[in-house]
Symmetry: D2
Subunit: 417 residues, 4 copies
């Protein structure tokens, strides 16, 4: 095991750990861990809700999920010699659930969860059709996940961190806050909101205290969206063996990470979320000095995915176009066309005995592929979603003999306001 | 060779062929070909511009591309016994360029093209940054394509039909026309337009003549967008071995197809288009009686992709978020985030010696993957684009030694108004 | 279509063609086709028995298969400038059954065959257990093969030439003849024989006539075995997109080829053979001058396989060790251990309703993988054979519920002396 | 972490552990661990030489490797209810090096080794050309291995147990001993020996003592070869996610395992061995009652490999035939043809600057594929070996520009008698 530079004790809350991380982006959150280019080290990561979601059959915890407190991140980690303009190389040498802990109350201890927020508390990709809170629990057995709430499916984990990134400079942070506030201002009362402004309440800022804490908490960006620094990209392909290149905006780069997923479909459409868990990341870091300019990478991550993702060779695919369910034509809206493709997949799976929410949960957590197939054929974009047929116990291919039925299982825990 | 039910002579214009196809969608265009469930047959397909684009080093033809005349489609093909409510199974047994013709003036005779329309004539996914007309020519050598206009790349073809679909019912067609006109009406003068209304000029409607022709031409839908009937989906994964399921809206299903591509990246971002060519499709058809209801597939195609796509195991990926280049924050706009990911890839490739338009052309024609990675993390969606590193002669991975340079080649033909 | 430098007319016998090929290896068979480095061209290939095997339900033709006449090869093709010591690059741009001919009496016209020779006429890998002659017919539908003689299986073709190679020098030929005769001399009466000596009877030697013919026919090597020049390697991975490097032993290299297979399992264990067919090869050739020494390749082919082989992700594997069925221990005999692994697979498939000969035929023709898993663990080698589960209509994985049964089909045609 | 039913302390010798395993096969070695069908549990495994091979730059330890003491196995593990005639399902849920120990003197603590025995002490697949003892050390960094003794290569681990199997019945054991002794008797003085007879010296037999120990030690089979019970199959595809089915010969099945490999090429041609290490296995077991007869699996393992093996898409392949280096023709000897293919690969790699022993070590430890390509083309079999090109830092494909040279590194430690 590489040296654990950011250790976590599963029995303690995030703020009671020996090193306390953070849940906001700000360049002035002090780095408490220092590594050098070439170093290999381990970082423990807490599940994103710090244990608020339980391994039970109720969705009350998801209904009241404390969103102001997310994501609890491990870091910042300063890399010796990193300067603005450099590219920070991060190799994901390994990633997994909490090692040596296969049972316990914390997601990552042998289990994980997929949730859908109620519309009033964040919603999800299909919140219009799934307005309540829902939760399913997944059990890990080695590399695969199964759920007592969804019969007849099992996935090989496509394990990855949902969130990793470098700290923003003051200028970059100011830009974020300005543009996101401008968006919020277009519809301030919207439910769910258009964006999340800085929020001092529930802010965790490492070692900061007093006036520094107050100032930074008032400015620091929320961690929900991905941005120029990487952040919450939720790219399911950040698997073991991946090499990521992050732009560096502050001295030391100040790398942070969290939001580990045991598995996820493209889009993380359920929002709360993939199969969520705590765990660990083994990393190697290096620098390409001046790399941002050399390679024209001024923002967002570029990466070489790992080569041990689960292999499936047969897929059942659904397509959608940018027309709303009630028939309104939108112009080249790939978000909408992906929604429609996902809704088609849900409709289809119900014919095999799944409930609609079970199907939605499968799409959010299984290693489905979501592709922007056509983006120019005015006025309709075409998006496609690919389900690996091997994850299902029954044969889900269409045939003249009609759909086989999955064994009925318990229903998905649901809760509503 | 299966019986050729829809033959084309490469030396004749589309309208001079023994069987004349169509370039509009309408349920009353008469089927001239009749097949039965279980049949295997060949359909020749004309390149979508009917030969208007030439194998030369000028982009004048793309600048003046006759868009009202596209797509020249082979069909309609009536399937014995098909009734509204059925699912039509179409197996793509084989697909390729024009057989036995490796040279000649028609795309598909050993060569193909990728173009970008000028903004005034349709534009493309990145028309804001590439406002003129551009063209590159690709030479096919067996399964691979190379271009005299782009140095140092070669692709294994991911050959597929860009367009296939069943005829709309009268009610469905009326719905299309209504919703698309409503969109156009929101900004009727927009360049490029929001959508394309019916257009009698240049309409080709098979055997229809006289008053029937006039009436149908005035109502028939343009073929640019994908819709409920499949249509111009431009899904690069409709490769050899694929089984597609189409909803049936009229008696006989009236299947039509065209717009063959030798290769394409997800999104077909160049619009004009992938690597365009004429060629052939060998198909097998069958029916699932009442399948639309049995499987909940009331619109759009579902499909099982073939298993012989080109295999690449190393990818260089770029991510983008839904913030415009000038810094405006959009709300979960995956179209925009894919644009930004593509622009990042273009910026990057220029560091290796490619011109920006060369890089754009690569993204439009190489078998790149475009994924909706994150669609819920308000306010930013995250899209990613994956380039197979093996298509490049030089090593395009970032490293401390900096980018290797491709041998300079001739520039990309360009033309502007 | 590239220029056809070696055309064949499906309606004429091999010796009645415009250009007559050969069925023996000898450096003095004159090249009738001349190409240059960089050229792209097509070569038609006759099925290896020149039409002696028919699309019917009798195995009499296999029982009396005229082995002295094989393999009918297309060539020799001289490559301008090739000299002994060079490496000849051969790119397999495309390969397939006879184009445009989907029905007819010749294998390759929409169908192919797999046979097993009777022990007295060559036998096969498992001739001890399958002593008679057997035949199954395969129908091609686009990229897949099915058989009326074997229920419930279909394969995506892994199309390749079984045989390709350069002409031997006089010295190399002499070496072959000496060493093979020495082997024969150890057991001259063995049935089947240990090796096949030169045989003037049935020799076809291109344009050679008279005394030259007689002399060369008496010396020329049979084409059954692979040797230093490549030859009948039966490597199933010589698929479309493959680049092969052959040593050059005579001026012009004198490349020849044939024995096309629609599909084959590792080992071609049925011997007569894979799924045999006639068809075409589109090739590109080039030279690495002096490459044999530069790269240390003095014999046998090296190659980079193509990247469009059929993809399967689930395999059922069987292992075997080098102990005979009657319990005799052999020392690290991978041939034997592969035999045992194959016999295990056959035993297994019979539990699903297949006859033993059907199972054997599947192993010979499906894209199975055969691996030398352990070759050092004295005294047992361990070989493994991998069957893609997706080629079967029924689920062939072991389970507590026991084997599902395939629908019974007609029996495999058999004939015996 | 599942419950550790067979724990090992890295600081103690195999015989000083709390539970002592065994290094011989015998049905009367008492099971010390008992599990039930459906159980999930962890088994720690010692590297096969119990720590005799060190992380240094000398091959003296390999020269004097204590072969009588191998393999130190974890087990036997009795499965409740298992009876002769059943099939034991073993799911490899996870497998890896020693968890949480990334440095230390024991292979598996962040490092592993590949060795070649001297001819007098076991030899290897190519002992005729590599008669001495050699050793290279590999460092693990997450999922990849690199060596200070071999420049310019790195592999993604294809981690697997080299050895796993059930205990033999008395009758089966007697059969082994008889047939192997018969082989030995054909050449009793051979160096290396043809097989290894029972050997009381160095035998470790779990809890057995006294007369029982002596009797069993005199009868128990050595663990080197794979046999009907599975055993030392060295199948590189027993990776995470694999489901293996073992025949059961004694009550409780008495499963044992060990010889973990971080990576291995097909054949494990270096013998001492793959990349050797200690580590852990997380297993799930179940039974198919009477499965041996139901599925016709009376011996050897059958298995469904996992779906997360490292993916490579470009391979450089070498072929060989069954002719010895000095020109003697053998009859369909796939062992020999694989030897020749491997020797060709070694010759080739020396042109890039590798020493012959470095090339041999690469073939033994990298995830190369070894295939029985042709096994019927008398008198030559054809074997092929496939090297993934991506494991090399330099481009190892042949080209007109000649081989690029790897940076010279230190030589491989060597020792000889």
């Amino acid at each position: 095991m590489p040296p654990v530079v950011f250790p976590l004790d599963s029995t303690k809350k995030f703020t009671d750990q020996r090193i306390v991380g953070h849940n906001r982006w700000h360049g002035e959150i002090p780095a408490q861990v220092h590594v050098s280019p070439g170093d290999v080290f381990r970082v423990d990561c807490r599940e994103w809700f710090d244990g608020a979601i339980h391994n039970d059959d109720s969705a009350e915890d998801v209904l009241h999920a404390p969103l102001p407190g997310v994501h609890v991140l491990s870091g910042p980690i300063a890399v010796e010699g990193a300067k603005p303009g450099d590219l920070l190389i991060v190799d994901i040498l390994d990633v997994g659930p909490i090692p040596q802990e296969d049972s316990g109350p914390l997601a990552g201890q042998g289990w994980g969860y997929t949730g859908v927020f109620a519309t009033q508390n964040g919603g999800g990709f299909l919140t219009e059709w799934f307005p309540d809170a829902y939760k399913v629990i997944w059990d890990f057995r080695g590399g695969t996940a199964t759920s007592r709430h969804i019969p007849g499916v099992s996935y090989t984990g496509i394990v990855h961190p949902g969130l990793m990134g470098t700290a923003p400079s003051a200028a970059l942070l100011a830009k974020w806050n300005a543009r996101e506030q401008a968006l919020i201002d277009t519809d301030p009362g919207r439910v769910p909101p258009l964006a999340l402004p800085p929020l001092a309440d529930s802010a965790i800022l490492g070692t900061l205290t007093g006036a520094d804490f107050d100032r930074v908490a008032a400015e620091a960006a929320r961690t929900a969206p991905p941005r120029e620094n990487g952040g919450n990209q939720d790219i399911k392909n950040f698997t073991k063996g991946t090499r990521v290149f992050y732009p560096v905006f502050v001295d030391g780069a100040n790398l942070s990470m969290g939001d580990l997923h045991f598995s996820q479909g493209d889009g993380e459409i359920t929002f709360c979320g993939a199969i969520e868990m705590g765990g660990f990341l083994d990393l190697h870091v290096d620098l390409i000095k001046g790399g941002m300019d050399t390679y024209g990478v001024s923002e967002n991550a570029i990466f070489l995915p790992g080569n041990t993702d689960p292999q499936y060779s047969e897929w059942l695919a659904f397509s959608g176009t940018s027309v709303t369910l009630d028939g309104q034509q939108h112009y080249l809206d790939s978000h909408l066309s992906y929604q429609r493709a996902c809704l088609h997949a849900i409709d289809y799976l119900t014919k095999f005995g799944y409930s609609r929410i079970q199907a939605y949960m499968i799409l959010g957590s299984a290693p489905i592929e979501g592709r922007l197939s056509g983006v120019v054929d005015i006025p309709n974009s075409c998006s496609t979603v690919y389900l690996p047929t091997a994850i299902f116990d029954v044969d889900v291919r269409p045939s003249a003999s009609g759909p086989e039925q999955v064994a009925p299982g318990p229903s998905v825990p649901t809760a509503s306001f």
